[in-house]
Symmetry: C2
Subunit: 356 residues, 2 copies
Amino acid sequence: MTKSNEEKYWNTRLKNAAEYVPGEQPQGPEGYIKLNTNENPFPPSKAVLEAIRAAANDSLKRYPDPTAHAIRVAYAAAKGLNPDNIFVGNGSDEIFTLILRGFVEPDGVAAFPYPSYALYGTLAQMNGIRYDTVSLSADFSYDMAGFLKKKYDLAIIANPNNPTGTYCEVDDIRSFMRKFKGLLVVDEAYIDFYGGSAADLTDEFSNIIVTHSMSKSYSLAGLRIGFAVAPEDIIRGLMKIKDSYNVNMLAAAGAVAALKDAKGFNYNIKMVVNNKEYLEESLAAMGFDLVPSRANFIFVKHPAITSRELYGKLKERKILVRHFTGPVQSDYVRISVGTMLEIKALAKEIAVIVGA
Amino acid sequence: MTKSNEEKYWNTRLKNAAEYVPGEQPQGPEGYIKLNTNENPFPPSKAVLEAIRAAANDSLKRYPDPTAHAIRVAYAAAKGLNPDNIFVGNGSDEIFTLILRGFVEPDGVAAFPYPSYALYGTLAQMNGIRYDTVSLSADFSYDMAGFLKKKYDLAIIANPNNPTGTYCEVDDIRSFMRKFKGLLVVDEAYIDFYGGSAADLTDEFSNIIVTHSMSKSYSLAGLRIGFAVAPEDIIRGLMKIKDSYNVNMLAAAGAVAALKDAKGFNYNIKMVVNNKEYLEESLAAMGFDLVPSRANFIFVKHPAITSRELYGKLKERKILVRHFTGPVQSDYVRISVGTMLEIKALAKEIAVIVGA
């Protein structure tokens, strides 16, 4: 038995990278109302569960299709795209990692907005890529000109942005792309709730990747399915660099069924949007400042209490919302949209806390 | 619509990397006897299928446990290890990628045996890591001294080796580790068929990682579950660099059930070993040269026919075996062990082809 050697075998970038901390996942989540990780409060389509049960058969002894062909065809059909422009990842996180590994030279520089999804910076560090942050404007809109101040090899924006919920019009992205020479990734994990995807820009420009996810709008965070829509040569690069069998058979079966159930999908979206707007009205009535959101979460603060305190008091009451550290964003809490019961329970507790 | 720009956005390492080509997966595999990708011919445990069906429920709307805690506990219990020494990957391929990304500096040098699993070299190229190959001895045993000729930062050996099936004794690995200063990865994807794991060496040395897989011995290639057993600080490094939720909920449910079904596992192993030995006897009787194998495949050649021809003639007869290009290994075919029906069909066709 030798003594632990304090990460002797970690390389420099791994040692120096900040740790990405996912939202709290309490043991025994049944005791909590969990509005902190932007999961969809409604169950996945029954067709998905049936397809997975049917796929739990002897063919699991075989390797899955390395190209995820069936999912790409189903996604292309659902979204009016060509399968050759589609890549399937083990969640969109995997796609961001692959992009940082395969599409930026080791001496390249990336740019990410702030505040935004903290994972982009962590992944850049893990892959030894330097990056700058471009601050959002005071109203939390994107300062796209900020991404043109230097020659960036890669930029990633979340649209709608996380944690603010704010949205950048496709026309503004199009204008930006006429000037931008690097690779732009538009992370559309939250796009389905209010629409407005930039996916069509992948026909107009050779240097744009649009990513989607089944975690939020399809209620399938547990399945790990993300998509990249991009020009064909970028898709071929992602295919080359990925692990041979990155999407397992059960996820494939579930994803195909979800993509075919347009009715269930639309109904789920409608419910989430309805609840989100109800939540916004309830909190506005109690004096909250609300950032305009086009996602399944809202970013809010109240003049009578710090957001850190509000987070803590809600946690004592077994309601989890997300509070981030860091400038600007620490002034707010991010609340994921729940079921109507969860929202009403939240609103009731908040009314007590802020004395509304 | 702009013209395709011929991989303009691929980085140098992605452009220069060789493509890893997985074994053929014909459309409509039912028409073929598929003995080319080392899958287990027997179905997974019924308990696995039941656990997956039960996990196909509303909780799929939630993110999976980022630490794969339940699988690590089940694996630790099954193998007599500590969960803190266990990492779970989306297949062991993901684990090799993570090791190359996080445990070798960009100017580091790796060493891999030849002939062995070609993926190691491809992954090194994808991650910009230089590597040497160390040829096996004439009898296909490892030349461990070859890995000490230079200061290597990383070495990966497959044990039993793929495609040869040959095995290196744990004591020989132990002797090697007393001299080796880099990180050694022992890829034990095929270890379960005849035993002899080096996992205990992770208690003795700080610089060894032993990987396992559920693809072969658990009949779960479609599920994508691989394990790393290593000293705790290496496990923490793997945890830090991996994507947040790399193992999906359904794979987790299936893996836990598989690890708890020791009886089903042992029965499966016994059947594979039995069929493998029957296959060896049949081919030996027809004049084949057999490399001694401790895996679920055999590496063979026949004096009357080139292996390329044998591969081609079997493919015409709808039997897929693996033929590799490259020195030494192109002299052989690798045949995965099938069911008794498949083996008998194979032996019958081979008898016609070689005139035995």
